[in-house]
Amino acid sequence: MKKILVCDDDDGISEVIKVILEGAGYNVGVLNNGRSIQKKITQFKPNLVLLDLWMPGIDGKEITKILKKNKNFSKIPIIVVSALNDTRKIALDCGADDFLSKPFEMNSLLFMVKKYTS
C-alpha cells in the first residue's frame, strides 16, 4: 500500500485530501506544520509528499529545497499544493516535482498521486 504524507496547516484541506486518497486505497499521514516534517518522513517513510506552500512561520519553498538537498529525502517526490497560482514556477525552481493548485479537481489529485507513486 502506497503511503502519502500531507503537510498543510489547514485542517479542512488535509482532511479532504485524506478522505479522497484513503478512498482510493492509499495510506495517508497528516502533518499540520512544516517544522517536524523531516522527523515525520523518517518515521512514516512516505512514497510521496503533498506540501502546502503557504503555511504560517515555515516557508514551503524552503522545506522543498531542504528536503531535496538531503540525501535521505531527495528521492521522495514532492507535489506542492498552493492557492497562489503564480508560484508554480517558483515551486518547480525549488526542486518540487509538480504543482497542484487549490481548489483542485478530485480526479486531478488522484491522477497526479497515481503518477508519482507508480
Binding site: G12, I13, V19, W54, A83, K89, P103, E105
Partner: protein
C-alpha cells in the same frame, strides 16, 4: 605709470574680477577668485573673507597666507555683529601703535602682520560678513585704495547674495537636489538631499564629497544591485539625461527608502559636460502601498481559495458516494456552484492584480502544443459534455511565456465555448505556426455572438444578455483577463462569429 593709466589698468582688472567671480559655479570658487583679485589689485600680503554662520559668529570662509593658529585665535573676535548697522571700513595702519587692539595685538604681530583693514560685505542693508586685507609692513591706506576695496566688497557681496538666494530656493524644495562635478564628487546638495541621506546638514555632507557612495546599498526594482555607472547622475556626466527608480539602504542608519532620480548634464561653453544636476524624489510611501496591495491580494487569494478547495473536495466525495439519485443531483448542483464561486474569486483576484499593475508574467520556455493537449484532456476528465478535437495534430512548438497564464486563457476560451454551445457537442482547436507567431483558434458551433456585441466581448464586466448567460453568469471578466494576458505577451486576441452558427476565438503569441 601715470595716474589715469593706472586707473584704466585697475578698471580693467576690476572688470575681469567681476566677470570671473560671476562665472564661478561654486561659492568656494567665488571666494578663491575674490582673494586672488584682492591680492593683485590691492597688493596685499595676506587676505581673508569671513561670513556670519547660523549662530551669528564670523567665520573664515577662505584665506590667503594665514596660519591655522592665527585663524583659530582671531575667529569670532570681530567688533561687528549681525545687527551692526552701516559699518564703516576699519583701517589700522600700524598695529604696533594701535591702542584698541590690546589682547589680540601679540597674536597679530607674531603672524607677521603690521597693518590691516576690513571692509563690510552687505546684503541690502544688513551685514553678512567682511573681507580683510593684511600687510607685513605698516601701510597708509589711500582714498583710492579704500574706494577700490569698497567696490570689490560690493561685487563680492552681490555674488554671494545671488548664490544665497538660489540656495534658499533650492533648500525650500521637498525633493533632494544634488550637483556632481565631472569626477562624480558632490559640489552642491540642498538640505533635503543631505537630511534624507542621513546627514545633519548640507555642509556636513559636502565635507566628504565622494564618500557618500559608500554609505548606501543600491538596488533596482527587481532587487538586483544597481551598478554605480548606471546611476542617472553618472550617466548624466557622460552626457545622457535619464531617470531611474532606485531602492537605497542607508548602511549606517539601517533604513531603506525608494527614490526616483532624474539627472541632466550641464555643459560648459565648449559643449563639454561640466556637471550633472540630479533631482531626487522620494517615492517610498507609494512603493510601500504597492507592496501592501500586493500582499493583500496574495493573502486574500489564499484565504478565499482554501475553504473553497475544502468544500469542493467534500462535495465531490459525496457526489461519488451517494446512491440516491436526488442526492446525487443536488450534489452535482452544489459542485457546479462551488466551481462558479471558484471562478469568480479567481477573476476578482486577477482583475485586482491587473488593475494595480501587478499582473507580472513568470516567463519560461514551454511546449505550447503539449499545454493545449493537457488542457483539452483536463476538460474531458472533468466535463464530458463536449468532444474537444485538436485539429491537424499537436505540433511540438516551444514558446517563451507564462505557462500558467496561457493555460488560463485556454481554459477561459474552452469554457466559454462549452457554455455557449449547449446544443452542440464539438469544439475544435487549431494551432497555426507562422514565422513570427503562433495562432491558436478555439471554435465552437453554438449560438454565436451578435454583430453589436462582438466589439464589446473583451470589455471588463461585459456580459451578453441572453438565456444562457443567465444560467451561468460570472462576472464577465474572463475575456478581459485573457486579453490582458495575451497583450502582456505582446500577442493579439480577436474573434469571428456568426449568430446561430458558432464562434471562433483566436489569439496569437510571438515565437522568438
Amino acid at each position: 605709470m601715470s595716474s589715469s593709466a593706472k586707473s584704466i589698468e585697475q578698471l580693467e582688472q576690476l572688470y575681469k574680477f567681476s566677470e570671473v567671480i560671476n562665472r564661478s559655479s561654486a561659492l568656494d570658487d567665488v571666494y578663491e577668485q575674490a582673494l586672488v583679485a584682492i591680492k593683485k589689485l590691492l597688493k596685499v600680503d595676506k587676505a581673508a573673507i569671513l561670513l556670519f554662520d547660523s549662530d551669528g559668529v564670523m567665520r573664515f570662509k577662505d584665506y590667503l597666507g594665514l596660519s591655522k593658529k592665527y585663524r583659530k585665535a582671531v575667529e569670532g573676535h570681530s567688533p561687528w555683529k549681525k545687527d551692526t548697522k552701516n559699518p564703516a571700513p576699519v583701517l589700522v595702519s600700524d598695529i604696533k601703535r594701535e591702542p584698541t587692539l590690546t589682547h589680540l595685538k601679540k597674536t597679530i604681530l607674531s603672524e607677521g602682520i603690521q597693518s590691516l583693514a576690513f571692509f563690510p560685505l552687505l546684503a541690502k542693508d544688513s551685514l553678512i560678513g567682511k573681507f580683510m586685507i593684511y600687510y607685513n609692513v605698516p601701510h597708509n591706506f589711500t582714498p583710492e585704495e579704500i574706494e577700490l576695496a569698497t567696490i570689490m566688497g560690493r561685487h563680492i557681496s552681490f555674488v554671494i547674495n545671488k548664490r544665497k538666494v538660489s540656495e534658499e530656493f533650492l533648500n525650500s524644495i521637498n525633493d533632494g537636489i544634488t550637483i556632481q562635478d565631472i569626477s562624480g564628487g558632490l559640489v552642491f546638495v540642498n538640505n533635503t538631499a543631505a537630511i534624507t541621506s542621513g546627514y545633519k546638514s548640507a555642509e556636513e555632507m559636502l565635507k566628504n564629497p565622494k564618500k557618500w557612495v559608500n554609505r548606501f546599498e543600491l538596488k533596482d526594482e527587481q532587487g538586483n544591485p544597481f551598478e554605480l555607472d548606471d546611476l542617472p547622475g553618472r550617466k548624466a556626466l557622460r552626457g545622457i539625461s535619464s531617470q531611474a527608480l532606485i531602492q537605497y539602504k542607508d548602511l549606517k542608519l539601517g533604513i531603506s527608502r525608494w527614490v526616483v532620480i532624474k539627472a541632466n548634464p550641464a555643459f560648459d561653453e565648449e559643449g563639454k559636460v561640466k556637471m550633472s544636476i540630479n533631482i531626487i524624489h522620494d517615492v517610498t510611501e507609494r512603493m510601500e502601498l504597492e507592496k501592501r496591495k500586493d500582499e493583500f491580494i496574495s493573502t486574500a487569494s489564499h484565504e478565499l481559495k482554501t475553504p473553497i478547495a475544502t468544500l469542493k473536495g467534500f462535495a465531490q466525495i459525496l457526489e461519488m458516494q451517494v446512491k440516491d439519485q436526488n442526492s446525487k443531483y443536488y450534489l452535482s448542483k452544489i459542485n457546479g456552484q462551488i466551481d462558479r464561486l471558484s471562478m469568480l474569486v479567481n477573476d476578482l483576484l486577477d482583475v485586482s492584480r491587473i488593475q494595480s499593475g501587478k499582473l507580472r508574467l513568470k516567463k519560461e520556455k514551454f511546449n505550447i502544443g503539449q499545454l493545449v493537449e493537457e488542457v483539452a484532456s483536463d476538460f474531458h476528465l472533468v466535463k464530458n459534455s463536449h468532444k474537444i478535437v485538436v485539429k491537424n495534430g499537436i505540433p511540438k512548438k516551444y514558446i517563451y511565456g507564462d505557462k500558467f497564464r496561457i493555460d488560463e486563457v485556454l481554459k477561459n476560451l474552452l469554457s466559454n465555448a462549452i457554455k455557449f454551445s449547449p446544443r452542440s457537442d464539438k469544439i475544435i482547436i487549431t494551432l497555426k505556426s507562422n514565422p513570427k507567431d503562433l495562432v491558436i483558434a478555439v471554435r465552437d458551433f453554438g449560438i454565436g455572438i451578435t454583430k453589436r456585441n462582438i466589439e464589446r466581448v473583451f470589455e471588463p464586466f461585459f456580459q451578453p444578455s441572453n438565456r444562457i448567460r443567465q444560467s451561468f453568469s460570472g462576472l464577465g471578466l474572463g475575456l478581459y483577463i485573457s486579453s490582458q494576458i495575451v497583450e502582456q505577451h505582446r500577442g493579439k486576441i480577436w474573434v469571428d462569429s456568426k449568430k446561430g452558427k458558432g464562434t471562433t476565438f483566436y489569439f496569437s503569441l510571438p515565437v522568438n
